[in-house]
Symmetry: C2
Subunit: 214 residues, 2 copies
DNA sequence: GAGTACTACTTGACATTGTCAAGAGGAAGG
DNA sequence: CCTTCCTCTTGACAATGTCAAGTAGTACTC
């Protein structure tokens, strides 16, 4: 069960991180144990400490990775060819929800002040700031605000709240039982996105921000 | 330091619960320890086990209490005399945010599937269902939907997402540093509420749901 | 009024955890 | 060959969650 040479350098760090992320995905951040992570990564119980200062160091690394990926996701919106012409905000909402679904492990850590380590790990904090900047840029691009006014900030926070609330409620909220199948859940999320995006269009039109064709 | 007789019956349960809640408020749910809770409550390390099956039992009790209080808060909206005539949704948003701010300990537990114990503790689950029902009722009352259509459900989920996202982002999110003082944060939250409520009004008017005076 | 049952805890024990300290083996450079 | 890193491993310790067993009081029965 030895690894091949080219896998070895710095590989344990990745192994540890992935083990941690998959543990968080399946059991929640609560029950992430250093020793279990080490066991899954196939290393001694102290090996993770070589790459991360302590348990919170792992969480911080996951936060950092997560915010970097989120910033990337924001940058992709309307930059690639898949511009959704039905609504300026819909693509943003969809991107956020997709990110949450595809990075559950990261998502569960990033937005919890008690474990994200943003306050104690500056490099993770910086990634979070970047992501926020990209959010503002995205809002400016897709809705048409001028990006650095108070109104634009408020608008961005409103959009972020809407998307974030939807993601957390459906990921970890008390709704699974209310919804039936996974497919039905998906449909319900889409319906909420549609409605929210429509409201954004109405608001934007009233503020004279976007072309009337929306 | 003995308690007086009338304080004694069932009092330890309350003491334990309050100790747990205050610990969660200050340090997050992550670092809630049974023994620390017992220590703060001034009892032996096993006393909590007399009232709660295990650690998750405490979390479940907190969830239950929280959802009951949330349902109560929903019921109060526009039932008391403080009807906010500027917008039908504003009072609801404000109530949700107030609940989150005044019950941080509860709030941090209720919406985390891994620790809320909703799936394993039926009595807590029932309280969560009740709260959701009250949310639907509140939306029907304040916005004017007919309460049991698909559209009403979608509308309610959208409102809940918006309020919940705002609450979680400002309570535990990566925003504290972006905002300046606590007062400034408060102002920002109010601005977002105002904007969101305005959008709800636009949407409701378009759907012909509420009197035009809004 | 002795015995029994029950409530509300306490004391003791054990495996598991996070983390500190001290190594151990190999590569790289002199 | 010796030293110095780098990448881990082994060992130890206090603290934690929780099981098992005990104990003081109260209530109720006969």
């Amino acid at each position: 069960m030895k690894t091949t040479p080219q896998e070895q350098h710095g590989d344990v760090r990745r192994l540890v991180l992935d083990a941690a992320i998959s543990l968080i995905e399946s059991d929640g951040a609560e029950s992430l144990s250093m020793r279990e992570v080490a066991r899954r990564a196939g290393v001694s119980h102290q090996a993770p400490y070589h790459y991360f200062k302590d348990r919170s160091g792992i969480f911080a690394a996951i936060s950092q990775e997560g915010f970097a990926a989120l910033a990337h996701a924001f940058r992709q919106v309307q930059t690639d060819g898949t511009l959704d012409t039905t609504s300026p905000a819909k693509a943003g909402f969809a991107a956020y929800l997709r990110f949450a679904r595809e990075h559950v492990g990261h998502f569960r850590v990033m937005f919890r002040a008690d474990i994200s380590g943003l306050s104690s790990h500056p490099e993770a904090h910086e990634c979070a700031e970047d992501a926020f900047t990209e959010l503002l840029n995205m809002v400016a691009r897709t809705v048409g605000h001028s990006a650095d006014t108070q109104d634009a900030l408020t608008f961005a926070l409103m959009l972020w709240s809407q998307a974030h609330g939807l993601a957390t409620l459906f990921l970890d909220g008390p709704l699974e039982s209310r919804m039936g199948s996974r497919l039905e859940t998906e449909k319900q999320v889409d319906a909420v996105i549609e409605l929210a995006a429509h409201m954004v269009s109405l608001e934007a039109r009233e503020q004279g921000l976007i072309p009337a064709q929306y």
